[in-house]
């Protein structure tokens, strides 16, 4: 699946700045609607090491109201949470109605690593994906807008960025070494990721593959997709129900109970 992605796409700076201004303004407006219509939003960012997930999230949130979103950085499971089924920490971090949660790393991180390192059997693998699909289905049933991005970079770009990082950043030696080790196992990664994308891309919550070799392109495509999904899921601002701040599902229910 990943080998059919055209990584040569790019944008020049002028178009990029234009597009970004347009998309970021649009996202700001849509985020206002998210709050008004009380819809929870989940955006998942997964990708290779050095695919610049962090920078994309920074650009997504740049002009958003900081009280309306949370960024969850998930790199590993904290030790006390291994005590539980692997989805528990994510149930905990779900956004409330009207809030946006951005996941830098997500419920996919742990199963993927386990798969690549060969620490789980094929059955366990299937089970993890089945549970994830059931999880996402429940989110969508509830009215959550779910958006999943896979940031794909070519191997050459990954290696170049890693070299860059090794020379310039003050990151600890062990992290860099680990990343070099991971980069050497590129083929295993591609296989595992292909499998993951195939099995967890559902009608409810499809994956969007973002071509990440060119950062400009990646930023614009992510924002544009997010905007499109949000616009599709939310009611038009002109809709009579869109202005009410109360969630429409519980509005009537609460009234009934009081009587």
């Amino acid at each position: 699946m990943l080998d059919t992605v055209d990584l040569s796409v790019s944008l020049d700076q002028e178009t990029y700045l234009d597009e970004m201004e347009h998309e970021q303004t649009r996202l700001k407006r849509l985020a206002g609607q998210v709050d008004k219509q009380q819809r929870p939003v989940v955006a998942v960012f997964e990708g290779w090491d050095d695919s610049a997930k962090g920078s994309i999230i920074r650009h997504v949130t740049e002009h958003l109201d900081p009280t309306g979103f949370t960024v969850h950085a998930i790199s590993f499971l904290p030790p006390d949470e291994i005590n539980h089924p692997h989805l528990v920490p994510f149930w905990e971090r779900l956004p409330e109605q009207g809030y946006i949660a951005l996941f830098d790393g997500s419920w996919y991180t742990h199963p993927l690593i386990e798969n690549i390192k060969g620490r789980c059997s094929p059955e366990e693998q299937e089970r993890a994906y089945r549970e994830i699909n059931a999880f996402e289905r429940q989110l969508v049933d509830f009215g959550t807008v779910v958006c999943k991005f896979w940031l794909h970079t070519g191997r050459d770009v990954q290696l170049r960025r890693l070299e860059d990082r090794e020379q310039r950043s003050g990151e600890s030696r062990s992290i860099i070494e680990q990343d070099w080790f991971d980069a050497a196992h590129w083929d295993d990664y591609v296989k595992a990721v292909d499998d993951l994308l195939l099995k967890t891309s559902t009608l409810n919550a499809p994956w969007v593959i973002v071509e990440g070799n060119d950062e400009y392109w990646a930023h614009v495509k992510t924002l544009e997709t997010l905007n499109r999904v949000l616009a599709g899921a939310l009611l038009k601002p002109s809709h009579p129900l869109a202005g009410s701040k109360k969630p429409k599902k519980t509005k009537n229910k609460n009234k009934k109970k009081k009587q």
Binding site: P85, R127, F142
Partner: protein
């Protein structure tokens, strides 16, 4: 399904008292074995109003070390809970490895109370069945032992008990859930909902035990025995029985 349950089963309090210490000892042993092996356990009680889920929880919790279990009484979702997918509040209280969670009422509210009293739409409770089965499957495959009890009493018995609470204030705990009388009038609708729920959520990894709860002592004994049996099987039958366990080893005589 429920009409096949023999509600006349009973047990005298004396007989129960005789068996109780053994069961208590056994359950306590099994609990420490579960904690040692890191098996999470969920024991949940569903049942008619006034069927005695409270008494059941009390009887069971008296057998366990309080460090190792948490009892959850599940009422209507709070306002804050409604702002998330409905299953979330249960995911947040699943027992960690080696712990026991006892639920007095549970996620089955969704397909029982919420359905009969029309608190959620048809689609919502329909989907509830699948959410529940997925939830229990995920937990079971993660290693959780799930023991589900349904306490069954007849229509007349329920009526009698609800009346009792009026004349005997000391029994008022049986009517702690507000609106029990209102729900009693919907007995038939509840019956339909309960039967469907029991049928659709009966799985190899989380089977139901339907307990005839007319006699309190019979009900408590059945629950303690079933819980002990399920725990024992989950541990692979490796735990020595209570009597052997408590017996102090014979002091070795210096002559031997």
């Amino acid at each position: 399904m429920l009409e096949n349950i023999d509600l006349k089963k009973s047990l005298s309090q004396e007989d129960y008292r005789e068996e109780y210490p053994h069961l208590k000892q056994r359950l306590s042993t099994l609990q420490s074995a579960c904690a040692a092996q890191g098996i999470p356990v969920i024991i949940l009680f569903e049942g008619w109003d006034a069927a005695g889920t409270n008494a059941a929880v009390e009887a069971l919790s008296a057998c366990f070390d309080p460090h190792g279990f948490t009892a959850h009484s599940i009422g209507e979702p709070k306002k804050q809970d409604r702002r998330y997918p409905w299953m979330r509040r249960f995911w947040l209280v699943v027992p960690h490895r080696g712990a026991i969670a006892i639920f007095d009422r549970s996620w089955y509210r969704r397909v029982l109370d919420d359905r009969v009293l029309k608190r959620v739409s048809y689609e919502e409770w329909r989907k509830g069945f699948r959410d529940i089965v997925d939830f229990e499957q995920a937990l079971a495959e993660d290693g959780t032992l799930i023991i589900k009890f349904f306490l069954h009493i007849g229509h007349k018995e329920q009526k009698r008990r609800l009346k009792l609470t009026k004349s005997k204030p000391s029994q008022a705990w049986q009517d702690r859930r507000p609106g029990a009388k209102k729900r009693h009038k919907k007995y038939d609708q509840y019956l339909v909902a309960i039967e469907e729920a029991l049928e659709r959520t009966e799985t190899p990894w989380a089977p139901w035990t339907i307990v005839a709860a007319t006699s309190r002592w019979h009900m408590q004994k059945t629950i303690l025995e079933t819980a002990a049996g399920r725990l024992d099987r989950a541990l692979g039958g490796t735990v020595p029985t209570g009597d052997q366990f408590t017996q102090a080893p014979e002091p070795e005589s210096p002559d031997a």
